[in-house]
């Protein structure tokens, strides 16, 4: 069961998202209305913590548990980073959730969020259909 560790890490992530109220639609509205520091604080401190860990991994050449070099692949720029990014931002305001919180909301009993999740999967499917025709 090599995948159990991913289930456990996912559960940890979902639990943190739930307890920190990151999955709250209201918190996301508050962020875009510049009414509260909460979401900015979460995002910035998450980046800083992760950046320190990534730095240590690189600097000290820390290996993953499986003995391999930790895979840190660079991301390449496409116009999609901007166009797709803005589209996602619009959806983020509407659903009040990015992909992680969609899953966490369903888990915490907000069954209706299944609608938004199915629609997100459909959105990815339509992107796959149109990919060759879109500017990248």
């Amino acid at each position: 069961m090599k995948n159990i560790k991913f289930l456990i890490l996912g559960a940890l992530f979902g639990f943190i998202l739930y307890k920190t109220e990151v999955i709250s639609w209201f918190r996301i509205q508050e962020m875009f209305l510049f009414e509260s520091f909460h979401m900015y604080g979460v995002i910035i401190s998450a980046i800083v913590t992760a950046a320190i860990i990534v730095f240590i991994i690189k600097k000290m050449n820390i290996k993953a548990i499986n003995g391999n070099k930790v895979a840190l692949t660079p991301k390449s720029f496409t116009k999609g980073n901007i166009i797709g990014g803005m589209l996602f931002g619009m959806g983020w305001t509407l659903t009040g959730a990015c992909p992680g919180p969609l899953y966490a909301l369903i888990g915490s009993g907000y069954w209706v969020v299944i609608l938004a999740l199915l629609s997100a999967i459909l959105g990815t499917f339509v992107y796959g259909l149109l990919k060759e025709k879109l500017p990248h």
């Binding site: 940890l12 109220e21 913590t49 720029f77 803005m86 996602f88």
Partner: protein, 187 residues
């Protein structure tokens, strides 16, 4: 106060944020994987859709860790909302409430506004906009952008990736456009 009560209180940003960063690190070291949630939508499509479409014709099973991870997120939400349910309501600022009243939201309990998000509202203009168009933009936009808040904003930025910075700024601009320009046009 026992430990369960202690954990059950809503967490401050300075508790949750660093823990999210730590999870990114654990995933790198324990699983040797870069965090990213939106890829799961692609894997789900690849798993259920016939192999004719190029974008979905790949060995998704080799990426199945990602599906286990998102299943875990569902489980995490479940554990949080049952064993560690918080009794205190989410404190939203008065300014936010005022703005949301204009959108017809007057009930501020729970994590999502029941006046917009419901199966009955699926075909009302507002319900369709927030649930269906919103979800569609999340799925289409994240894949087009090559990642979401976890993959770009947290994982990508912590690894100093310029495309992730461009994407994250775009996420934010899109969110502001929706909040201040698009939504006021409709509702």
């Amino acid at each position: 106060m026992n430990i369960v009560e202690y954990i059950s209180q809503p967490w401050s940003w300075y508790v949750g944020g660093p823990l999210i960063g730590l999870t990114v690190g654990l995933l790198l070291i324990v699983g040797n994987k870069q965090m990213g949630v939106s890829s799961s939508f692609r894997h789900i499509c690849a798993a259920i859709i016939p192999r004719k479409i190029k974008f979905f014709n790949y060995d998704w099973e080799s990426q199945s860790w990602n599906l286990w991870f998102v299943l875990g997120i569902v489980l995490g939400g479940m554990i949080g909302s049952t064993l560690f349910l918080s009794t205190s309501p989410i404190e939203i600022t008065e300014g936010t409430k005022e703005h949301l009243r204009e959108l017809g939201v007057t009930n501020f309990t729970g994590y999502i506004p029941s006046q917009i998000f419901s199966f009955e509202n699926l075909l009302t203009p507002k319900g369709f906009m927030f649930q269906i168009i919103g979800g569609f933009c999340v799925g289409f936009g994240t894949r087009y952008a090559g990642g979401c808040t976890s993959g770009h904003t947290i994982m990508g930025l912590s690894n100093f990736q310029l495309p992730s910075l461009i994407a994250s700024i775009s996420f934010f601009i899109g969110g502001l456009l929706m909040t201040y320009i698009v939504l006021p046009l409709f509702f």
